[in-house]
Structures are given as C-alpha cells and as structure tokens.
C-alpha cells in the first residue's frame, strides 16, 4: 500500500483537487519526457471540458497538446500509430459514454498488438476518460462501463479516488509498457483537496488501498463510490458498532487478489459497491474470486450494492440509481446481521 497524502507536508506539496492532481500529473510527466503527448477533443486551447488539461497547451505547445477532429476511433487509432514511433500518447475521451466509436481500436488493436506481434510491438498509451454519474449531466454523460474494459485481456484499468492517488496512478500508467484505461470519477473531480507532492512519484498499479480498517465486513469499491462507502462505515460504527473495512481497489484490472482475499479471510463477510449496472458488473468477478480463494471463511452471502440493470436515468432520478450511503449502510447491515 502506498503512503497516504496526509504524510506529505510542507512546501513540497500542493493542496489539489482530484482534477487538478490529474492536470499536475500530466504536467509532471510531460516535463520529464518529451515523448508524452496529450490529444483529444477540446484538450488544447480549451484545456479540456473539465479543465484536466488546463494550461498544458500554453506550456507545451500545439504539437504536444493536440486538438483533434471530433472522432474517437481516429483519436485512439492514431494514438496506437503514434505509440509505434516511441511516443507515449495520452488521449482523452471526453466522456466515457462517447468511447464506443473507439471500442474496436481499443479491444481489437490496443489490447492485442503485443500478443498479435508475439511481443515485437506494444502500445504504451493511457486513455483518460471521465466516468460516472451524480453531476446532473445530460444523457450519455454519466456512464460507468469499466466492466467492458476489465473483460478485455491486454488492457489495464485504473480508477483513482483521491488527488494523491490520481497523480501517482497516472504516472504509473504513463510509465507502464501496456495500454491503460484511466477512468476519472468526475463526481469527485472537485469534491475535496489534499496534499499532492510536487515531485514525481508513482502509486503502484498492483495494489489496492485499505481506506479504513475493520473487522466485521470487507467493503470493496473504487472511484467516486469510495466516499459514500466510508461515510456509511463511519455511520454504522457510531450507530450500530459495526466495524467495516473499506478497500479501494484503485486498479480494476489486474485485481489485487491478495489484498481482496486477505481482508475477507479476516472478516468473513463482503459487500461490493459500484455505480455500474449489477449484472455483469465487476462485483460479480470480485465475489467469485473471493469464493474461489476463501470460501471456507465465508459467513454470509456476498452483497452487491450497484446501479440498476437499466440505463442511467436523467438527473431527476440519478440519486436513486447511484449507491448512496443509505443503500450501502443497509446492505452492510443485512450482510453483518445474516
């Protein structure tokens, strides 16, 4: 587990939001390595629709922060080609719900060029995309489709839940020799600040983080759902004396099976919280993995607290769709009381 931001103090750190930490992470990597280029729709002059690439165009110029035509398949296909020349493209998909035109390029090529060429060619690239609901966005702007990409061998899938991790995971992703889908929880882009070191650092792509230690139940989550899970845990600690352990997976593929199962062996009970629809979601993979690795420790059915098996509703109903603290608390109690 990496050190947490609270250990970083003084002039060597800045108080940043998650989106600012991503901007800072891109800046840091681009300053260190001329081969790192950012490309996508509105990432240049406009600094990105969420300002994740703010000031990069001014700092690094139009050949390294590139406003492309509006074409996701073009952006990703071109990035695969750029990567063959020794460059490290960091393409942005403006919203996860707009990634689908690029799906063929991602799954048929970015994910497979290494195996297709028997290791001769590879695609070191980081595809950034804001994902998830809760910001009153229009239709198609609130999707959580991480399972599509977790299902694809050859891709790594990462989702930070804190500013410190955002910068460190982004650095590790850019340094990684394989393609990484970097999913940014836009609900918490500006939710809080924490100390983020100015110096370069990595957060490992193979370690989940224990955000809260507990003994009664293991709650597995990631991204924007980490916070309501922590709130639920604090509430239940005070109201019912339930001591929940909260595991932030951080890297969704490959999963840190050791941290997942070690926690379960301690608690014997598990809940998984994700925004994505329940059926075929990553929760199913985690639950099955726990059963494969630690069945004898299981004391209750594994609970999934997830989005509905329905399209994300428009914003008047999104609070009911997303796993709120109230749903998480209820699910934890059901599992602990079993």
């Amino acid at each position: 587990m990496s050190s947490t931001a609270s250990t970083q103090t003084g002039q060597n750190a800045q108080r940043l939001t998650l989106v600012e930490a991503i901007q800072d992470g891109l800046y840091t990597e681009m300053a260190q390595d001329d081969n790192v280029v950012v490309l996508g729709e509105d990432v240049g002059k406009n600094g990105g629709v969420f300002r994740a690439t703010d000031q990069l165009y001014e700092e690094f110029g139009e050949d390294r922060v590139i406003d492309t035509p509006l074409a996701e398949a073009g952006i990703i296909g071109a990035s695969i080609g750029l990567a063959q020349t020794g460059m490290k493209p960091v393409p942005e998909m403006q919203f996860m719900g707009f990634m689908y035109p690029a799906f063929d390029q991602i799954v048929s090529h970015a994910a497979r060029l290494r195996s297709r060429s028997q290791g001769q060619y590879s695609v070191p690239m980081v595809i950034r995309a804001p994902y998830g609901g809760g910001i009153r966005a229009p239709e198609h702007h609130s999707e959580s489709k991480e399972a599509f990409f977790v299902h694809e061998p050859g891709l790594k899938v990462v989702s930070p839940s804190t500013p410190y991790d955002a910068k460190g995971l982004l650095a590790a992703s850019i340094h990684d020799p394989d393609p990484v889908i970097f999913l940014e929880p836009k609900l918490i882009y500006r939710a809080f600040r924490e100390d983020v070191p100015t110096k370069p650092y990595e957060v490992s792509l193979s370690e989940a983080a224990v955000r809260r230690e507990g003994t009664d139940i293991s709650v597995y989550t990631w991204g924007a759902m980490t916070r309501p899970a922590l709130i639920a845990a604090e509430n239940l600690s005070q109201s019912h004396g339930i001591d929940a352990e909260i595991i932030d997976l951080r890297t969704l593929s490959p999963l840190d099976i050791e941290t997942i199962t070690d926690s379960f062996k301690k608690t014997g009970r598990a809940a998984i919280v994700h925004e994505a629809p329940k059926t075929g979601g990553l929760g199913a993979e985690i639950a099955t993995t726990i059963q494969e690795e630690a069945l004898v420790h299981q004391e209750a059915p594994i609970k999934r607290i997830a989005g509905f098996d329905a399209p994300m509703p428009l914003h008047s109903l999104e609070d009911y769709y997303l796993p709120q603290a109230v749903r998480i608390q209820d699910g934890i109690r059901e599992t602990v009381d079993f």
Binding site: V49, P69, L70, A71, G74, H141, K278, D309, Q324
Partner: protein, 382 residues
Amino acid sequence: MNMKNEAGNTDLPAPVRQDSDLVQVLDAEGNVLPQASVPPLSDRQLLELYETIKLARHFDQRAISFQRQGRLATYAPMTGQEGSQVATSLALAEQDWLFPTYREHAAKYAHGMELESLFEPLRGYREGYAIPEDVNVMPEYIPIATQVPQAMGMAWGHKLQGKTDTAVLCHLGDGATSEGDFHEGLNFAGVFDVPAVFVCNNNQWAISVPREQQTASETIAEKAQAYGIDGVRVDGLDPLAVYKVASEALEKARNPDPGERRPTLIESVQYRFGAHTTADDPSVYRDESEEEAWRDRDPVDRIEKYLYNEGILDSALESEIQDRIEQEVSEAIETAEQTETSPDNIVEHVYDEVPARLEEQRDELNRLREKYDDGAFSEVLE
C-alpha cells in the same frame, strides 16, 4: 457593411470561404438580393416562419436564464441557428421524419413537438422524450453523428416499402463530419439512393475546435461528391434561402428527375452565437469580435426586415406576436415545472416487459425508500 460579390451574394465573415455557389435570398439587411429567387410562400406561411423563429429566440433566452437559476440542467443554446432550424422543419411535409441533435430544439417544435416536452429532459425528466404518435421526430441524438446512418436506414425502409412520398431530414453539426458514422451513413445513402436530406449545421465551432481545424476540405458541402450525391451550400442565417434549399432537396428526395440521386447534403453555414452549452465558456478559445461580425447577419432581424419591406408585418402585429410567444413559452415552462416522475421509472421501458430481476431491484429500492424516506437518497454524495 456587407460586400456583394459577383453573383450578388453578400460575403460571410472571415474565415468562411466566399463562393458564388452559396445560396442566398436576403442580404444582411433583409433586402432581397437582385438575382435571388424568393421561395413561393404565402403571407400566412411567412408569418408562421417569422413567429416560430421569434419564439425559438425567446425560448433560448428563457432556457439560458433558467439554467443560470438552477431550474434547468445543461442546455445547448441555439441563438443564430434558429432561423435555419425552423426553415428546414417548415419545409417538411407532415409525414416526413426529423432526426434532431441536442441543439435542434426549434426544429423539433416546428415539426410538431410540444414546447413543454423540450423543457422536461432539461429538468431531468425522460418523460419529455416520449414523442406523441402523430409526431415524426426521433429523440434527440447526443453521441455525435450516430443519427446519420439511422436516418439513412429509415429512408431506406420507406423506399423498400414503396413510400418515397416520405422523406427523412437529418441534422448534424460540423464536428460530426469527422466521425466514421457520418461517412458510413452518407455512403450508404448514395449507394442505396434513399429519400433523405442531411443538413450540416456548420456553426463554425465544435465546442472549441474551429471549422478549419475540423477538416482540410474547403467546404463541407463538397464532401457530398465523394458519395456521389449532391452537396449544397446555403447561408444558414437566411431563413428564406434555407427554406428554398431544403424544399428543393426534399422534393428531389421524393421525386428525383431521371438520372438524379435522391439524397442531398446541405451545408447550412451558420454561427454559434453563444456557448456550446451552458457548461462551456467560449471566451477561453475564441475572440468575441468574431461573434459581432455574425451578429450583423442575425436571422431574426433579416426575416423581420423582409416582412416589413413586403408590408406583411407592422409594429402592431409584431407586438401581438411577441406577446403571444412570450405567453406560450411561459405556459410551457409552467407545465414542465409541474412534471413529476417516480423512481419506478428507472426500470420502465428498458424492455417491452420489466424482467423479473429488474422488478426485484425496483422492489428493493422501494423497500429502502419506505424504510429511510426519500430524503436519505438526495444526500450529496460528495
């Protein structure tokens, strides 16, 4: 000041290409150009065109102001583009179909949708997407250019069923011309020769990316050549010119002359006077003086001036129309603000019948709502 070129056209602001093929009827002041042919519209039709454009402008202003008050979520303004939207829709016959994007509020209204249903999705209610049976409008398209092959397919279906009296009109933006779906859709349209008209609302900006960075083509209309179909370029701030071009394209879609292909790509040359959406700040990426040059060609002013010149409109009628549209928009807002929904709606209409597993999920939600009350669900997640 607007310069007239050899064809009698008035020049569009730089950097838009000037060419004699640009169809115009009105000059920037609303006077009929010397060599222009005015579409044969009755006084009643001209007033309908005018009133609908005025209503669209008012709708836009109210929607932007409501968004700022937090009464609407993200809204895509259409000021500057409403003249083209209304003119293309009024050129449609009732049986024709409209494929709008998220910015074609006025086009939808002018082809039969109720105003309140336009406000409802902006307030977060999917109920506004329930289009009445007698209105031939598809729900707005948000993923860029995805409507193009679908519009082609609907037109194809009509043709295969011998219903070529029904045309399909499909809107798209200048950014959409970079997507694969645009090329695939137009290629199919040419190959299968379907009764469809594609209107590219070239408003010069795809969020922050200017038209000249979107494509190395000189014009968007010229892309039609690659698919063997006609491409027409029209002054999109000139409602009469747009009406003329759209009517002719729709007529050709239904009844082509021998040797003519049915589909047309219309490049409606416009300008996005406002932001991409209320979440966007254009001052970050474009110069405000650019907008001012286009403001001189405002479609509302041009059609208004034309109607005054023709003696069809006077100040008494203008204020009567203004009062009427203000009342209509206010009533629509009032109705939309009374819309209610239920969390049960989340599981409705996903399939023809709600699957058992989804019913369980709904029942579980309702059990929690009863146990903890609805307030517990609206706690801010942050």
